[in-house]
Symmetry: C2
Subunit: 80 residues, 2 copies
């Protein structure tokens, strides 16, 4: 079973990596970019057979290690 | 229009960040994790009205800046 976790900065939190990428794209003459934000995608391969248990465990991993919930939000997707 | 780009290491390329996270999760007593891989998720807000043109432009951005295509693959998803 595979879990896909996306961790991204909360709205309103400054994203310097995204800003730098935005400027770099503009200096490469790419037009029409309004905003760039950069997050992490974490793909976990799990032994679990129960997808509800897997989701619960992965949310616990996010809260304790994978995301800094003060400034970041996350989504968890369980893929069979 | 929003473009969601996922950039991840190609199969077979060592992922030290994923390995370190895997060990850290195990030391926190999480069980049943077979593998962890970590990539980037880049969310672009675009002025484009044509989704085909948006996809073409974003793929060009990936090839020229966002991904290192020697060791990384990427997917592009265009959201209305």
């Amino acid at each position: 079973m595979r879990a896909i976790v996306n961790v991204y900065l909360k709205n309103g939190v400054l994203d310097p990596q995204g800003k730098a990428t935005h400027h770099a794209l503009e200096s490469l003459e790419f037009k029409g970019i309004k905003d760039v934000r950069i997050g992490k995608q974490i793909v976990l391969e799990l032994d679990h057979s129960d997808s509800e248990q897997a989701r619960k465990d992965v949310e616990e991993m996010c809260d304790s290690l994978l995301a800094n919930t003060v400034i970041e939000d996350y989504t968890v997707e369980i893929v069979a």
